[in-house]
């Protein structure tokens, strides 16, 4: 993937370990021990993704601001994990503004250890014809909560919010609260989240779409699917639609289920053993979300992190 990589320890910037020289100088980057500020100036296209790696050993809080100006094309990756395998408690608040015609692809990987917790508030304001693509993957942490709020504040703004959570530990709990506010006309939003849950893991997903009066010809789609590998795993899915405008399209779908026994039998009847068949089917389930990642190098990276390299 070879991103421009910045390292933070408990929220503090680690200059020596970071590729600060590789960051184009027109990008404004400032930080304090509790905050990060990033501004991408007009017309900037960065082919190489920027990656912020957050390592934690204790409780820390961060307040971040990202401004993506007009016509920018930026790929940005956030990764959260532990340092020295210590437990941590991460609280991160991020505010993002996308200016007209900006395209911002945001990828987040949460792989903290099984004793850690992660709380993220994420708030995006999108101006005219801006495009946000967001992908959140949880494959670690004891508890994680993602509160995501996207405002399509001006016409023709669009967002695609995707997520995958792979929970295998007992007591592991991941929650998503995703809200898209369609304020202006011709907005488009899509939510597509999937979860695979084993043992005692628990997941909750609330997908809320609010279409304000005047947000005519808005299109909102929402899907949330869960695969339960154990009888004790619990998944809750709550779609909420609040619509005050006419002439709009909203769809939603949610499922909680097991692996299709007919599919297992089909694979086994061709000689694959049961465990391998189940493994393939789980990976196939996840692959559908991973394939939404546009940038190939990031898609490969996330697929590897998810342990989903089934396709040879």
């Amino acid at each position: 993937m070879n991103p421009i990589s910045f390292i933070f320890l408990n929220g503090e910037f680690q200059k020596k370990q970071s590729a600060i020289a590789a960051l184009p100088k027109e990008v404004e980057f400032q930080c304090t021990p509790k905050s990060i500020f990033l501004r991408f100036p007009k017309m900037l296209t960065l082919k190489t993704p920027i990656q912020f790696v957050f390592l934690g050993t204790k409780k820390y809080e961060l307040n971040n601001t990202i401004i993506v100006e007009e016509n920018c094309r930026i790929n940005f990756i956030e990764e959260y994990s532990n340092h020295l395998d210590k437990k941590n408690e991460t609280h991160v608040n991020t505010e993002i503004t996308l200016h007209p015609h900006a395209h911002f692809d945001f990828y987040k990987l949460q792989k903290e250890n099984s004793g850690s917790s992660h709380h993220a508030n994420f708030s995006v304001t999108q101006r005219e014809s801006s495009q946000l693509q967001m992908f959140t993957m949880d494959c670690g942490g004891l508890t994680a909560k993602h509160a995501i709020k996207v405002q399509l504040a001006e016409k023709h703004a669009s967002c695609a919010l995707h997520g995958l959570y792979l929970l295998e530990h007992d007591q592991q709990h991941v929650e998503h609260q995703v809200l898209v506010d369609h304020i202006a006309p011709f907005g488009k939003s899509a939510m597509f989240y999937k979860g695979v849950l084993d043992n005692d893991a628990e997941a909750k997903f609330t997908g809320r779409v609010k279409v304000h009066a005047g947000a005519k010809q808005s299109k909102a789609a929402q899907e949330n699917h869960h695969l339960l590998l154990s009888k004790r795993a619990i998944a809750k899915s709550e779609p909420e639609l609040e619509i005050y405008a006419n002439d709009i399209q909203c769809t939603h779908g949610a499922t909680v289920g097991q692996i299709d026994p007919a599919a297992i039998f089909y694979l086994c009847s061709r000689g694959m053993d049961r465990a391998t068949a189940i493994d393939y089917l789980c990976k196939a389930f996840s692959t559908e979300v991973l394939n939404k990642i546009k940038l190939e190098s990031v898609r490969e990276y996330m697929t590897r992190e998810a342990g989903c390299n089934v396709q040879s």
């Binding site: 299709d260 026994p261 007919a262 599919a263 039998f265 089909y266 694979l267 086994c268 009847s269 061709r270 000689g271 694959m272 053993d273 049961r274 391998t276 068949a277 393939y280 089917l281 990976k283 196939a284 389930f285 996840s286 692959t287 559908e288 089934v310 396709q311 040879s312």
Partner: protein
Amino acid sequence: MLKIKNLHVSILDENQKKKEILRGISLEIAPGTVHAIMGPNGSGKSTLANVLAGREGYEITDGEIKFRDKNLFDLAPEERATEGVFLAFQYPVEIPGVNNMYFLKAALNSLRKKRNLPPIDAYDFLQLVKSKMKEVGMDEKFLSRAVNEGFSGGEKKRNEILQMLMLEPSFAILDETDSGLDIDALQMVAQGVNSLRNTERSFMMVTHYQRLLNYIVPDVVHVMAKGKIIKSGDKSLALLLEEKGYGWIEGEGGV
């Protein structure tokens, strides 16, 4: 090769009540022979095919099935596959996210592994699969599609035959592979089966219609009704059925 003795099979119906589907099937299939199983809807033909392949959800209440010298009920579906049993599904399962070529290769390699052969070379595999696809009249683009996802009925059946040609089973069961096929696809199925016929390999073809048997000439024809084989004979039996319908034989069999 295959010996079925007094097989009784039940299922639980939608009211969780036990319902007997197969009521004492006995059947012997010798190496190198083709057996056709015919019979009206609900006679238990597909149940027999699925029980042989090891599908869950059936209760074997009596009887036994020997495949070569092994008791089939001791073997999981994948073990039956490695022993050489193959079922061409009546309704092939769609598996989104699993690539067709990858699936074929994984299936072939798992059979090779059990036979102590190394995994097939990637180039050899591609040559093999392409030539077999040509035989069944499938476009190569289906290799990169997900298994059966969005395939038409005919494409799914072709894909079943492709798998059969790739895996070269010693005993293949075709469960109504001919249903819903146009004449071209039907001939392709027949060609696939006929190309595999030899003195060792056996086939069991479950079908409603005599039509398929014009192209794959069976050695033995069995007629099933209400969970039993009520008549067996040579290929002329199929022609008689075509002419007189099942009612004639059901009356004669006293079921």
